[in-house]
Symmetry: C2
Subunit: 198 residues, 2 copies
Protein backbone atom coordinates (compact mmCIF):
# COMPACT_ATOMS: atom_id res chain seq x y z
CA UNK A 1 0.00 0.00 0.00
CA UNK A 2 2.74 2.46 0.95
CA UNK A 3 6.01 1.29 -0.50
CA UNK A 4 7.61 -2.09 -1.18
CA UNK A 5 10.19 -1.43 1.56
CA UNK A 6 7.51 -0.75 4.20
CA UNK A 7 5.46 -3.75 3.04
CA UNK A 8 8.53 -5.96 3.32
CA UNK A 9 9.31 -4.69 6.81
CA UNK A 10 5.72 -5.42 7.87
CA UNK A 11 6.00 -8.93 6.42
CA UNK A 12 9.28 -9.56 8.24
CA UNK A 13 7.83 -8.29 11.52
CA UNK A 14 4.77 -10.55 11.27
CA UNK A 15 7.17 -13.52 11.32
CA UNK A 16 7.96 -12.70 14.95
CA UNK A 17 5.95 -14.68 17.50
CA UNK A 18 2.77 -12.93 18.66
CA UNK A 19 3.02 -10.17 16.05
CA UNK A 20 0.02 -9.85 13.72
CA UNK A 21 -0.40 -7.48 10.79
CA UNK A 22 -1.73 -4.60 12.90
CA UNK A 23 1.09 -4.82 15.42
CA UNK A 24 3.66 -5.19 12.65
CA UNK A 25 2.30 -2.05 11.00
CA UNK A 26 2.49 -0.15 14.28
CA UNK A 27 6.08 -1.31 14.83
CA UNK A 28 7.04 -0.43 11.25
CA UNK A 29 5.64 3.09 11.59
CA UNK A 30 7.42 3.46 14.88
CA UNK A 31 10.72 2.50 13.24
CA UNK A 32 10.01 4.92 10.40
CA UNK A 33 9.41 7.74 12.83
CA UNK A 34 12.49 7.12 14.89
CA UNK A 35 15.80 8.62 13.86
CA UNK A 36 17.78 6.56 11.36
CA UNK A 37 20.42 6.00 14.03
CA UNK A 38 17.96 4.52 16.50
CA UNK A 39 16.26 2.29 13.93
CA UNK A 40 19.58 1.02 12.62
CA UNK A 41 20.64 0.20 16.19
CA UNK A 42 17.99 -2.54 16.15
CA UNK A 43 19.10 -3.82 12.74
CA UNK A 44 22.71 -3.90 13.92
CA UNK A 45 21.76 -5.65 17.17
CA UNK A 46 20.10 -8.45 15.16
CA UNK A 47 23.14 -8.77 12.91
CA UNK A 48 25.52 -8.79 15.88
CA UNK A 49 23.59 -11.50 17.64
CA UNK A 50 23.61 -13.75 14.59
CA UNK A 51 27.30 -13.10 14.04
CA UNK A 52 28.64 -13.36 17.58
CA UNK A 53 26.36 -15.62 19.57
CA UNK A 54 26.84 -19.35 19.43
CA UNK A 55 26.14 -22.38 21.60
CA UNK A 56 28.40 -23.31 24.49
CA UNK A 57 30.48 -26.34 23.52
CA UNK A 58 29.64 -28.07 26.80
CA UNK A 59 26.10 -27.15 27.81
CA UNK A 60 24.44 -25.66 24.72
CA UNK A 61 23.74 -22.33 26.43
CA UNK A 62 24.18 -19.14 24.41
CA UNK A 63 27.59 -17.54 24.61
CA UNK A 64 30.06 -15.43 22.67
CA UNK A 65 32.99 -17.63 23.79
CA UNK A 66 33.66 -21.29 23.22
CA UNK A 67 32.27 -22.13 26.66
CA UNK A 68 29.61 -20.09 28.45
CA UNK A 69 30.25 -18.07 31.62
CA UNK A 70 28.47 -20.68 33.76
CA UNK A 71 30.54 -23.63 32.50
CA UNK A 72 33.72 -21.58 32.96
CA UNK A 73 32.83 -20.65 36.54
CA UNK A 74 34.99 -22.83 38.82
CA UNK A 75 33.01 -21.82 41.90
CA UNK A 76 29.91 -23.58 40.62
CA UNK A 77 29.21 -27.23 41.46
CA UNK A 78 30.36 -29.18 38.40
CA UNK A 79 28.89 -32.44 39.72
CA UNK A 80 25.34 -31.12 39.38
CA UNK A 81 23.64 -30.64 36.00
CA UNK A 82 20.22 -29.08 35.48
CA UNK A 83 18.60 -30.03 32.16
CA UNK A 84 16.42 -27.36 30.53
CA UNK A 85 14.71 -27.05 27.16
CA UNK A 86 15.76 -23.53 26.21
CA UNK A 87 18.27 -20.84 27.22
CA UNK A 88 15.30 -18.75 28.43
CA UNK A 89 14.53 -21.45 31.02
CA UNK A 90 18.10 -21.23 32.25
CA UNK A 91 17.67 -17.49 32.79
CA UNK A 92 14.50 -18.09 34.81
CA UNK A 93 16.32 -20.59 37.02
CA UNK A 94 19.32 -18.29 37.47
CA UNK A 95 16.97 -15.55 38.62
CA UNK A 96 15.98 -17.66 41.62
CA UNK A 97 19.60 -17.58 42.91
CA UNK A 98 18.85 -21.06 44.33
CA UNK A 99 20.96 -23.11 41.97
CA UNK A 100 24.75 -23.30 41.89
CA UNK A 101 25.36 -26.22 39.54
CA UNK A 102 25.78 -26.34 35.77
CA UNK A 103 23.14 -26.56 33.06
CA UNK A 104 22.45 -28.56 29.95
CA UNK A 105 20.28 -26.96 27.27
CA UNK A 106 18.50 -29.54 25.12
CA UNK A 107 17.25 -27.11 22.52
CA UNK A 108 13.64 -28.30 22.80
CA UNK A 109 11.57 -31.22 24.03
CA UNK A 110 10.91 -34.62 22.49
CA UNK A 111 7.81 -34.53 20.36
CA UNK A 112 7.61 -37.40 17.85
CA UNK A 113 4.40 -35.92 16.38
CA UNK A 114 6.29 -32.76 15.42
CA UNK A 115 9.25 -34.83 14.23
CA UNK A 116 11.47 -34.02 17.23
CA UNK A 117 13.35 -37.23 18.05
CA UNK A 118 16.23 -37.73 20.54
CA UNK A 119 18.83 -37.16 17.83
CA UNK A 120 17.47 -33.64 17.20
CA UNK A 121 18.19 -32.53 20.76
CA UNK A 122 21.48 -32.29 22.66
CA UNK A 123 20.75 -35.58 24.45
CA UNK A 124 23.83 -37.55 23.43
CA UNK A 125 25.98 -34.67 24.64
CA UNK A 126 24.21 -34.90 28.00
CA UNK A 127 24.93 -38.62 28.35
CA UNK A 128 28.58 -38.03 27.45
CA UNK A 129 28.89 -35.26 30.04
CA UNK A 130 27.34 -37.44 32.74
CA UNK A 131 29.63 -40.35 31.75
CA UNK A 132 32.84 -38.39 31.62
CA UNK A 133 32.71 -35.77 34.31
CA UNK A 134 31.68 -37.57 37.50
CA UNK A 135 28.24 -35.98 37.63
CA UNK A 136 26.42 -36.85 40.86
CA UNK A 137 22.95 -35.51 40.12
CA UNK A 138 20.90 -34.54 37.08
CA UNK A 139 17.95 -32.21 37.79
CA UNK A 140 15.36 -32.52 35.04
CA UNK A 141 13.85 -29.06 34.58
CA UNK A 142 11.99 -29.54 31.31
CA UNK A 143 8.57 -27.88 31.19
CA UNK A 144 5.74 -29.48 33.21
CA UNK A 145 3.68 -30.04 30.06
CA UNK A 146 3.14 -33.02 27.78
CA UNK A 147 6.35 -32.87 25.75
CA UNK A 148 8.47 -31.73 28.71
CA UNK A 149 7.20 -34.58 30.89
CA UNK A 150 7.81 -37.10 28.11
CA UNK A 151 11.35 -35.80 27.68
CA UNK A 152 11.97 -35.99 31.43
CA UNK A 153 10.66 -39.58 31.52
CA UNK A 154 12.88 -40.55 28.59
CA UNK A 155 15.98 -38.96 30.14
CA UNK A 156 15.28 -40.42 33.60
CA UNK A 157 15.01 -43.85 32.02
CA UNK A 158 18.29 -43.54 30.16
CA UNK A 159 20.21 -41.94 33.05
CA UNK A 160 19.09 -44.39 35.73
CA UNK A 161 22.07 -45.97 37.47
CA UNK A 162 24.51 -43.40 36.13
CA UNK A 163 23.60 -40.52 38.48
CA UNK A 164 20.91 -39.43 40.85
CA UNK A 165 18.04 -38.14 38.70
CA UNK A 166 15.59 -35.60 40.14
CA UNK A 167 12.70 -33.57 38.76
CA UNK A 168 11.52 -30.06 39.67
CA UNK A 169 8.56 -30.20 42.07
CA UNK A 170 5.09 -29.68 40.64
CA UNK A 171 2.48 -28.08 42.85
CA UNK A 172 0.61 -24.92 43.66
CA UNK A 173 2.29 -21.71 42.55
CA UNK A 174 3.25 -19.47 45.46
CA UNK A 175 0.57 -16.82 45.95
CA UNK A 176 -1.90 -19.06 44.11
CA UNK A 177 -5.38 -20.03 45.14
CA UNK A 178 -6.61 -23.58 45.81
CA UNK A 179 -10.01 -22.62 44.41
CA UNK A 180 -8.60 -21.74 41.02
CA UNK A 181 -5.94 -24.46 40.73
CA UNK A 182 -6.58 -27.00 37.99
CA UNK A 183 -7.10 -30.55 39.20
CA UNK A 184 -3.87 -31.94 37.73
CA UNK A 185 -1.75 -29.35 39.53
CA UNK A 186 -3.71 -29.86 42.73
CA UNK A 187 -3.29 -33.64 42.40
CA UNK A 188 0.45 -33.19 41.99
CA UNK A 189 0.59 -30.88 44.99
CA UNK A 190 -1.18 -33.59 47.00
CA UNK A 191 1.03 -36.50 45.95
CA UNK A 192 4.12 -34.34 46.37
CA UNK A 193 3.13 -33.15 49.85
CA UNK A 194 5.94 -32.59 52.34
CA UNK A 195 6.25 -32.88 56.09
CA UNK A 196 5.84 -29.55 57.82
CA UNK A 197 9.08 -28.58 59.47
CA UNK A 198 8.69 -28.15 63.20
Amino acid sequence: MLSPAVDNLVTQLTRLPGVGTRTAQRLAFHLLQRSTEEALALATAIEDVKERVRFCRDCGNLTEEERCAICRDERRDHSLICVVEQPADLISLERTHEYRGLYHVLGGALSPLDGVEPEHLRIDELFKRVERNGVQEVVLATNPNMTGEATAAYLADRLRGRARVTRLASGLPVGGDLEYADEVTLGRALTGRRDMEP
Copy 2:
Protein backbone atom coordinates in the same frame (compact mmCIF):
# COMPACT_ATOMS: atom_id res chain seq x y z
CA MET B 1 23.15 -12.59 31.67
CA LEU B 2 23.82 -14.46 28.43
CA SER B 3 26.03 -12.36 26.23
CA PRO B 4 26.46 -8.65 25.56
CA ALA B 5 25.06 -9.09 22.04
CA VAL B 6 21.87 -10.75 23.30
CA ASP B 7 21.49 -8.17 26.06
CA ASN B 8 21.87 -5.38 23.53
CA LEU B 9 19.26 -6.96 21.24
CA VAL B 10 16.83 -7.23 24.15
CA THR B 11 17.46 -3.56 25.02
CA GLN B 12 16.85 -2.48 21.43
CA LEU B 13 13.65 -4.52 21.22
CA THR B 14 12.26 -3.00 24.44
CA ARG B 15 12.41 0.39 22.70
CA LEU B 16 9.59 -0.77 20.41
CA PRO B 17 6.09 0.30 21.50
CA GLY B 18 4.32 -2.27 23.64
CA VAL B 19 7.37 -4.49 24.04
CA GLY B 20 8.48 -5.12 27.63
CA THR B 21 11.53 -7.05 28.82
CA ARG B 22 9.79 -10.43 28.75
CA THR B 23 8.47 -9.97 25.22
CA ALA B 24 11.82 -8.61 24.07
CA GLN B 25 13.53 -11.70 25.48
CA ARG B 26 11.08 -13.97 23.72
CA LEU B 27 11.60 -12.13 20.42
CA ALA B 28 15.38 -12.22 20.85
CA PHE B 29 15.37 -15.98 21.45
CA HIS B 30 13.12 -16.42 18.47
CA LEU B 31 15.58 -14.51 16.29
CA LEU B 32 18.45 -16.57 17.69
CA GLN B 33 16.68 -19.79 16.83
CA ARG B 34 15.78 -18.80 13.31
CA SER B 35 18.25 -19.33 10.52
CA THR B 36 20.75 -16.54 10.03
CA GLU B 37 19.18 -15.81 6.67
CA GLU B 38 15.70 -15.31 8.13
CA ALA B 39 16.92 -13.17 11.03
CA LEU B 40 19.01 -10.99 8.75
CA ALA B 41 15.98 -10.49 6.48
CA LEU B 42 14.44 -8.45 9.30
CA ALA B 43 17.63 -6.45 9.86
CA THR B 44 17.84 -5.73 6.14
CA ALA B 45 14.18 -4.74 5.97
CA ILE B 46 14.75 -2.14 8.70
CA GLU B 47 17.82 -0.79 6.89
CA ASP B 48 15.98 -0.68 3.56
CA VAL B 49 13.07 1.22 5.01
CA LYS B 50 15.33 3.83 6.55
CA GLU B 51 17.31 4.13 3.33
CA ARG B 52 14.53 4.15 0.76
CA VAL B 53 11.40 5.51 2.35
CA ARG B 54 10.85 9.24 2.51
CA PHE B 55 7.94 11.65 2.74
CA CYS B 56 5.92 12.59 -0.33
CA ARG B 57 6.85 16.13 -1.39
CA ASP B 58 3.18 17.08 -1.67
CA CYS B 59 1.20 15.27 0.98
CA GLY B 60 3.74 13.93 3.49
CA ASN B 61 2.71 10.30 2.98
CA LEU B 62 5.41 7.64 2.91
CA THR B 63 6.85 6.85 -0.50
CA GLU B 64 9.98 5.68 -2.26
CA GLU B 65 9.53 8.26 -5.03
CA GLU B 66 9.45 12.03 -4.85
CA ARG B 67 5.64 12.00 -4.87
CA CYS B 68 3.52 9.16 -3.47
CA ALA B 69 1.36 6.87 -5.61
CA ILE B 70 -1.83 8.64 -4.49
CA CYS B 71 -0.61 12.14 -5.42
CA ARG B 72 0.60 10.80 -8.78
CA ASP B 73 -2.74 9.13 -9.54
CA GLU B 74 -4.52 11.35 -12.09
CA ARG B 75 -7.80 9.47 -11.68
CA ARG B 76 -8.18 10.69 -8.11
CA ASP B 77 -10.04 13.89 -7.27
CA HIS B 78 -7.31 16.52 -6.81
CA SER B 79 -9.80 19.12 -5.54
CA LEU B 80 -10.45 17.11 -2.37
CA ILE B 81 -7.90 16.78 0.45
CA CYS B 82 -8.31 14.60 3.52
CA VAL B 83 -6.12 15.66 6.45
CA VAL B 84 -4.81 12.85 8.70
CA GLU B 85 -2.32 12.72 11.53
CA GLN B 86 -0.26 9.71 10.45
CA PRO B 87 0.36 7.53 7.37
CA ALA B 88 -1.33 4.67 9.27
CA ASP B 89 -4.59 6.70 9.34
CA LEU B 90 -4.36 7.09 5.58
CA ILE B 91 -4.13 3.31 5.20
CA SER B 92 -7.24 2.87 7.36
CA LEU B 93 -9.16 5.34 5.18
CA GLU B 94 -7.95 3.72 1.95
CA ARG B 95 -9.21 0.38 3.24
CA THR B 96 -12.77 1.73 3.24
CA HIS B 97 -12.61 2.24 -0.57
CA GLU B 98 -14.95 5.21 0.05
CA TYR B 99 -12.53 8.01 -0.62
CA ARG B 100 -11.11 9.04 -4.00
CA GLY B 101 -9.44 12.36 -3.19
CA LEU B 102 -5.92 13.18 -2.02
CA TYR B 103 -4.49 13.21 1.48
CA HIS B 104 -2.39 15.47 3.63
CA VAL B 105 -0.39 13.85 6.44
CA LEU B 106 0.32 16.29 9.29
CA GLY B 107 2.81 14.06 11.10
CA GLY B 108 0.96 14.35 14.41
CA ALA B 109 -1.58 16.51 16.23
CA LEU B 110 -1.21 19.87 17.92
CA SER B 111 -0.39 19.43 21.58
CA PRO B 112 1.16 22.52 23.17
CA LEU B 113 1.66 20.64 26.44
CA ASP B 114 3.95 18.18 24.65
CA GLY B 115 5.60 21.01 22.75
CA VAL B 116 3.87 20.26 19.42
CA GLU B 117 3.06 23.64 17.87
CA PRO B 118 1.75 24.36 14.33
CA GLU B 119 5.28 24.82 12.99
CA HIS B 120 6.17 21.23 13.96
CA LEU B 121 3.46 19.77 11.73
CA ARG B 122 2.99 20.00 7.96
CA ILE B 123 0.35 22.70 8.39
CA ASP B 124 1.93 25.47 6.30
CA GLU B 125 2.28 22.98 3.45
CA LEU B 126 -1.46 22.27 3.73
CA PHE B 127 -2.37 25.96 3.48
CA LYS B 128 -0.10 26.35 0.46
CA ARG B 129 -1.69 23.36 -1.27
CA VAL B 130 -5.19 24.70 -0.62
CA GLU B 131 -4.14 28.13 -1.86
CA ARG B 132 -2.41 27.02 -4.99
CA ASN B 133 -4.29 24.05 -6.34
CA GLY B 134 -7.95 25.03 -6.41
CA VAL B 135 -8.95 22.71 -3.59
CA GLN B 136 -12.73 22.63 -3.10
CA GLU B 137 -13.01 20.69 0.15
CA VAL B 138 -10.77 19.74 3.06
CA VAL B 139 -11.95 16.76 5.11
CA LEU B 140 -10.47 16.89 8.61
CA ALA B 141 -9.81 13.31 9.64
CA THR B 142 -7.62 13.86 12.69
CA ASN B 143 -8.36 11.50 15.59
CA PRO B 144 -11.57 12.09 17.57
CA ASN B 145 -9.60 12.66 20.77
CA MET B 146 -8.43 15.76 22.63
CA THR B 147 -5.42 16.66 20.50
CA GLY B 148 -7.05 15.58 17.24
CA GLU B 149 -10.14 17.69 17.93
CA ALA B 150 -7.99 20.70 18.86
CA THR B 151 -6.03 20.28 15.63
CA ALA B 152 -9.24 20.05 13.60
CA ALA B 153 -10.62 23.19 15.28
CA TYR B 154 -7.39 25.08 14.58
CA LEU B 155 -7.31 24.02 10.92
CA ALA B 156 -11.02 24.73 10.38
CA ASP B 157 -10.48 28.20 11.76
CA ARG B 158 -7.55 28.92 9.49
CA LEU B 159 -9.12 27.38 6.37
CA ARG B 160 -12.51 29.07 6.66
CA GLY B 161 -13.36 30.97 3.49
CA ARG B 162 -10.67 29.27 1.45
CA ALA B 163 -12.43 25.92 0.92
CA ARG B 164 -15.31 23.87 2.24
CA VAL B 165 -14.10 22.33 5.52
CA THR B 166 -15.70 19.11 6.80
CA ARG B 167 -15.03 16.73 9.68
CA LEU B 168 -15.49 12.95 9.84
CA ALA B 169 -18.75 12.03 11.58
CA SER B 170 -18.58 10.96 15.21
CA GLY B 171 -21.15 8.47 16.44
CA LEU B 172 -21.79 4.89 17.36
CA PRO B 173 -19.44 2.34 15.83
CA VAL B 174 -21.22 -0.03 13.45
CA GLY B 175 -22.00 -3.26 15.28
CA GLY B 176 -21.74 -1.39 18.59
CA ASP B 177 -24.15 -1.39 21.47
CA LEU B 178 -26.01 1.63 22.85
CA GLU B 179 -25.73 0.17 26.33
CA TYR B 180 -21.95 0.17 26.25
CA ALA B 181 -21.39 3.43 24.37
CA ASP B 182 -19.75 6.18 26.41
CA GLU B 183 -21.86 9.29 26.93
CA VAL B 184 -19.69 11.58 24.80
CA THR B 185 -19.95 9.28 21.79
CA LEU B 186 -23.67 8.82 22.35
CA GLY B 187 -24.10 12.60 22.65
CA ARG B 188 -22.27 13.07 19.35
CA ALA B 189 -24.42 10.42 17.72
CA LEU B 190 -27.50 12.30 18.90
CA THR B 191 -26.44 15.77 17.75
CA GLY B 192 -25.21 14.30 14.45
CA ARG B 193 -28.46 12.39 13.80
CA ARG B 194 -29.52 12.08 10.19
CA ASP B 195 -32.89 11.86 8.45
CA MET B 196 -33.84 8.30 7.64
CA GLU B 197 -33.95 7.86 3.93
CA PRO B 198 -37.38 6.73 2.80
